[in-house]
Subunit: 309 residues, 2 copies
Amino acid sequence: MTPDELLDAIRGGDRRALARALSIVEDERPGADLLRAAGHAARRDRKVVGVTGAPGVGKSTLVDALVAELRGRGRTVGVVAVDPSSPLSGGALLGDRLRMQRHVDDPGVFVRSMANRGRLGGLAAGVVPVLGLLGLAGFDELVVETVGVGQAEVEVAEEADTTIVVVTPGWGDDVQTAKAGLLEVADVFVVNKADRPGAAETVAELRRMLELGTASSWAPPVVSTVAVDGTGIPELVDAVERHRRHLDDTGDGDRRRRRRAAAAIRRAVDRRLRRVLDGEDYSELVAAVAEGEIAPDDAARRLVDEGGR
Amino acid sequence: MTPDELLDAIRGGDRRALARALSIVEDERPGADLLRAAGHAARRDRKVVGVTGAPGVGKSTLVDALVAELRGRGRTVGVVAVDPSSPLSGGALLGDRLRMQRHVDDPGVFVRSMANRGRLGGLAAGVVPVLGLLGLAGFDELVVETVGVGQAEVEVAEEADTTIVVVTPGWGDDVQTAKAGLLEVADVFVVNKADRPGAAETVAELRRMLELGTASSWAPPVVSTVAVDGTGIPELVDAVERHRRHLDDTGDGDRRRRRRAAAAIRRAVDRRLRRVLDGEDYSELVAAVAEGEIAPDDAARRLVDEGGR
């Protein structure tokens, strides 16, 4: 199958073709550029929901419930679950099989797990093309689930149009810096396991912190859920849809799209440089930097024009 | 103090100026480019020893003993210890105070700890300028200690001229894939805690695996050490020096230097793009990518000329 035939098959709903394309992009095999480009264009018309939070808050169960609610509203859903397990444990593969058993026979749901370690060019470089190809395959809704720790996961959160940050009752006892980071990325807050003691206090504290927070025109709502029985999930999806309207109405959506585009360009440049710097064309430049004759920053200036075009 | 005055002070042995320069580069404050460039040139004449291995193998103790041996040979030593602790735990700061107490009053030793999470542009982007500034400050030997897990740490290992991989007796029982990764980066193997049962077997298995290994012209030696009492440390330093002569004699050193230069250029381009893509000059390009009109890979081709110069 040529890349073009593969693209047609994906657009036609062929799941095996989709899985094959995902592998080609992940392994940077021939055709990866074309598939990535097609996915990039397809993603433009899709909204991505990010779900993040510390381990143990019930993210996977929440995503499962979210998928069920979206399906109930007639939407098809593609999910990327970034598994923080070490590549040694085989966590990602295991996850694919164990999670979301109830959607396993539903052709309107597709789940792809990825390990987040040892990935060339960072986590976002792996996740973004997958989102694009899921969009190309026609899924209405795209969901990406990450564990909310570290820069890599924040970068993935930035790929979402709406980021849901999940906490549990008692979150008020956590370390302050972790809170600040999560507050920054949250468009919607979820207090999950809200049938446990302290839920009301956590909601109240979150609201208090959010009032002190940014001068943004969007005030992140706080939704209480019990993901295991579906409590609060319709309200959560409603909150996501309100946020989307806000993005469309205010221009915030365009700003996010441009920020994501800039990040995508940077990743593409890095990919390109990984290839071309090994070649003949730039051998003198590499040698000059290797000998300490010119600084890497000067080489960068020569590679990327001062002027722009 | 202007950046130039700061550079003079660092070259003159002013430790406070060094610490200040390190902070400027870490926080990307004004003057960072100049300091990085000066460090890049200085690093050319320094050999870097990398020390890596799983948690608990005694890396810090080994580095401590290595520093003592190098000092005994009349060399001054700058150490970068990459602390895998979460930024939440404050591990890096704590490490600075606790580690290497016995060198605390020795002006010929300087230790800088860094956390490895949440760093913009990856771990190597943080470590490399620090190595450069330590070189500029006149330290004869540069040592970088990392925990041997994940891509980020492999990238740091690639910044070293000689990478020491530390294991302990019983390593033979570990997961196979982890071994393969460590075998790939190792120039010198250390079996530390060699007074424990199973040391001879581990040494034998390592040698067997290394024989099956790469077709490289350098056969990594296996050195047994007991870092807490200094056993085997002189032999370890001898092995490092043999490896350095090998690098000089065979051209392997030049090849490594060029690979590092290419990586440094890629990081510098990314740094540059983080700035310029926000500006006016590239706003049309970013908008076109944001709207899905052109693919990030095409934008990258426009930014970095096909032809080279």
